[in-house]
Amino acid sequence: MPIHTTGRRLGRSITLKTVRDKVSGKGKHGVYANIQLTSMVDMFTIMVVFLLQTFSASGELLYVQKDITVPDVNNWRELGIAPLIAVGAETITLDGFEVARPADLAAAPDTEWDMPALEEKLNEAKAMFKVVHPGETFSGEIIIQADKSIDFKILRRVLFACAKAEYVSVHFAVRSKAGSGPSAAPPKE
């Protein structure tokens, strides 16, 4: 019996060179690397859960203006869609169009209540509502987004103009305090 030198013999009978090299351990390392997927899937799952918790089906109905800080309350309700009056420190707008400047209103005497520019725009909005919704009754809803530091003297004139234009159902835009919940709806008359 001939004497052979020691060494590997496993897989010598395999004719395909690539497979033989792999089996005998001479093959090159693969170019593919295994990614550790567990941590990535964990992170994705946490993100999905967090985003689902913060998800709001009603969407963002109005944007907070830069110079307006709305107050925080405990008893709030969901916001609907209505014309928006934004009362900031610099300007008062109706759906983005400037109607007055708070400084001018503050300088006026206390007996001055009228706000013709706003009233006119509100009347236009009301007329537009009646054109767009011919069969529906006008609800008179309006959203007021005012800064915390606005004086009632200014707000009163805005409310007066709203009332004259038959916008009597006022919704003040607010934020919810942490841990607070929606309030019960008042009964419909």
Binding site: F44, L51, F55, S56, F160, A173, V174, P182, S183
Partner: protein
């Protein structure tokens, strides 16, 4: 789901390998959708009936006389008017005494358990934050039908 199978002759492995590709695809799609539709600053509302439509401080005339429930907010503090009774809750320094107002409104609610209306009458010089705080407190005490008016002539 792919299952790893041992070589022929051996026992089948008990470990099963999940195919994670569709799972990761689903998670990625969910994250993309939720990020695009995320609302980071939710706004809510607090309701009031606007009664600034004429003579200041007027009350609605009804067929049956009812005791008026008014919460006056002025620069001195709160004044709760329930029928013929008046309770003054002065400010504590620069701040309004909200806990005391809560107590008083709770007491008034005890007298008028069926009433849901509260007329918040505000005078010039009061800030919007203090108005909403008074309205919020009223709603919290069960007076959910809040109306807002000018305080001139109410007291």
């Amino acid at each position: 789901m792919g299952v790893s199978i041992a070589s022929s002759g051996g026992k089948r492995s008990l470990d099963a390998e999940l195919n994670l590709v569709p799972f990761i695809d689903l998670l990625s799609s969910c994250i993309a959708f939720l990020l695009m539709t995320a609302v980071w600053s939710s706004m809510y509302r607090i309701d009031a009936t606007n009664k600034n439509s004429g003579a200041a401080g007027t009350m609605e005339k009804k067929d049956t006389p009812v005791d008026r429930l008014v919460l006056v907010v002025d620069t001195r503090g709160y004044t709760v008017i329930a029928g013929k009774e008046k309770y003054l809750i002065p400010k504590k320094g620069e701040l309004y005494d909200v806990p005391e107002l809560e107590k008083k409104l709770k007491q008034v609610k005890g007298y008028y358990p069926d009433r849901l209306d509260m007329n918040v009458a505000v005078s010039v010089g009061v800030l919007y934050a203090d108005i909403t705080q008074a309205m919020d407190t009223s709603i919290g005490m069960g007076f959910t039908d809040v109306s807002l008016t000018d305080a001139t002539g109410v007291i």
